[in-house]
């Protein structure tokens, strides 16, 4: 099935759940900045949850689908497109994204998944090195992509949505749970005490927090570069923290003040410029318990959906 990109939107890329296994040669994990939303969107259209889907940023695209298809949009919410439940388009129909009402990144799953070849074990777009996804780059007007053959076909999209209790508490001012980093108590306390404004240079590599700036950051060049991970909160010499997201480089040379826990990365991925964020300390055991709880709700969702498709 063909998908024609009428208008590409601000930054629309093909993403999946990333490509672990190549960090030693500098390849970022990549994949959806909000993996929760991508997984749910895929499940809602009957796809394996790691299938490739569109990641849509703030100003969405206009897409034309050659055949009848089932779609689902999760994460950010846009005018003109239903969210968090599957819907159907007729052959030749266009999907036009209006204004982004909530969040920053929407995930549009297409029944059958976006048909792109895996590169280094992932179908996501690696923007820094220009490979993977759709020709290693964001979509452009006029691109013609394909979707795979749906694993399971729906006669008509069912009118259901995931239990709202399983959806992360997306907000324009979320409280993100963090673990202590190696940089010491001063920077960490500064993070826990502050309310930070999201800067406009934030991207898939990281959320840049503009104010307040934290005192006590080590000077430039004083630290040895070391591995970092999505969620790591780096504090450069100017004191403005950067929370790394899925496209973050594999090594960093700034102070590691804290690490946002995996289950809260979706909250960060949905922040837009001028939103605010606060931080709360948790321990490693709580972080892992939160991850287990998140997976448990996915198990329930998968089970519920399997029945709908039966």
């Amino acid at each position: 099935m063909e998908v024609t990109v009428i208008r590409a939107g601000m930054l629309t890329t093909v993403q999946d759940l990333g490509r672990a296994g190549h960090r030693a040669c500098g390849v970022p994990l990549g994949g959806a900045a909000d993996p929760f939303a991508l997984r749910v969107a895929n499940l809602l259209v009957g796809n394996p949850e790691s299938s490739a889907a569109f990641e849509i940023t703030l100003a969405g695209p206009e897409l034309e689908f050659a055949d009848r298809t089932v779609l689902a949009l999760c994460g950010a919410e846009f005018d003109g497109v239903p969210s968090w439940h599957p819907f159907e388009l007729a052959a030749g129909e266009r999907l036009r994204f209006g204004a982004c009402r909530r969040g920053c990144r929407g995930y549009l799953a297409v029944a059958g998944g976006i048909a792109v070849e895996p590169v280094l074990g992932g179908r996501g777009t690696c923007l820094s090195a220009g490979f993977g996804g759709w020709q290693g780059r964001p979509l452009r007007d006029g691109d013609l992509l394909g979707a795979g053959e749906p694993v399971r076909r729906l006669a008509a999209p069912p009118r259901w949505a995931p239990d709202p209790r399983m959806i992360p508490e997306y907000s324009a001012e979320p409280v993100v749970r963090i673990l202590r980093g190696s940089a010491g108590p001063e920077l960490f306390q500064g993070l826990v005490a502050g309310r930070f404004r999201v800067g406009s240079h934030s991207d898939r590599m990281g959320i840049r927090l503009e104010e307040p700036a934290l005192p006590g950051a080590p000077p430039a060049g004083s630290l040895v570069s070391a591995p970092v991970a999505p969620g790591t909160v780096q504090v450069p010499p100017d004191g403005r923290p950067i929370v790394l997201l899925s496209d973050a480089q594999t090594l960093g040379g700034y102070a590691r003040a804290a690490h946002a826990i995996g289950p809260d990365l979706p909250l960060l991925a949905q922040l837009r410029p001028n939103d605010h964020v606060r931080f709360r300390e948790v321990g490693l055991a709580q972080a892992h318990a939160a991850a287990i709880e998140r997976e448990h709700s996915f198990t329930l969702l998968r089970r519920g959906i399997a029945q709908k498709f039966a």
């Binding site: 672990a20 296994g21 190549h22 960090r23 030693a24 040669c25 500098g26 390849v27 970022p28 590169v119 280094l120 690696c126 820094s128 090195a129 220009g130 490979f131 993977g132 673990l179 190696s182 060049g221 040895v224 570069s225 070391a226 591995p227 970092v228 991970a229 999505p230 969620g231 790591t232 480089q249 594999t250 090594l251 590691r256 690490h259 946002a260 826990i261 995996g262 490693l284 055991a285 972080a287 892992h288 991850a291 287990i292 997976e295």
Partner: protein, 229 residues
């Protein structure tokens, strides 16, 4: 050695505070030993300077009720305890990188040479006469963090970064030298360019270099650069 959480899905093994050839050997030896004995649920082992990051899936470890981080620590500690005898890093490969110095390929060579009080030819001889060790790969895929720049060639970063540095450019930034694998913005002084591709996802081993390799730059002419396949 100490091991600290690097978030909820990785552990950072810190082998010491300093950097240099000796600690890099320890890091690479242990990383190699971990690679050889990696278990289910270990996603990535990333050596860099004096640390190794072990990325794990907290949902796939800890099945026996043990905290996943503790499980990773036990594994790393056990391997490290026996590393002295079995995990000797053999020393890495020697990789020669042809570089067309100066001219359009290296527009900042005159400035770097002047700063070092050398002629351009002598600056090239100094840069291409040294051995450089790869301490880590990162920043962008395939980018080598090289140690061993002769002190005299150290040049502060450009006041204004270039919006686009061509792929293969060889630069000097502070006391570091390196090669840009992709066209990116960059603040280093560009002294030359290699026709080699540092990172190609279609290759069996995508990155030309690995941590632990020793790099030597070999000057080539503009003609050789143009003809390079």
């Amino acid at each position: 050695m100490r091991i600290e959480p690097l978030g909820d899905a990785a552990a950072l093994v810190v082998l010491g505070e300093g950097t240099g050839g000796e600690i890099l050997q320890q890091v690479l030896g242990l990383a190699q030993g971990l690679e050889a004995s990696r278990a289910e649920g270990i996603e990535d082992i990333v050596p860099a300077y004096n640390t190794i990051a072990v990325f794990y899936d907290p949902l796939r470890l800890g099945k026996g009720g043990r905290p996943p981080f503790d499980e990773v620590c036990s594994w790393v500690e056990a391997r490290a305890a026996s590393a002295g005898s079995r995990d000797k890093f053999p020393g890495g490969r020697r990789v020669e990188i042809p570089v067309c110095y100066g001219g359009r390929s290296g527009p900042d060579l005159p400035e770097v040479a002047a700063g070092a009080g050398l002629s351009e030819a002598d600056a090239v001889a100094l840069h291409s006469g040294a051995d450089y060790r790869v301490h880590a790969i990162g920043f962008v895929p395939g980018f080598p963090y090289l140690g061993g720049l002769p002190e005299r060639l150290a040049t502060p970063r450009r006041a204004t970064p270039r919006p686009r540095v061509p792929a293969g450019s060889v630069g000097i930034g502070g006391s570091q030298t390196g090669v840009y694998p992709f066209a990116t913005p960059g603040g280093w002084h560009l002294i030359g360019r290699t026709p080699l591709v540092l990172f190609d996802p279609a290759r069996g081993e995508p990155a030309l270099l690995r941590a632990g390799d020793t790099v030597r730059f070999r000057p080539i002419s503009e003609g050789e650069f143009a003809k390079w396949k």
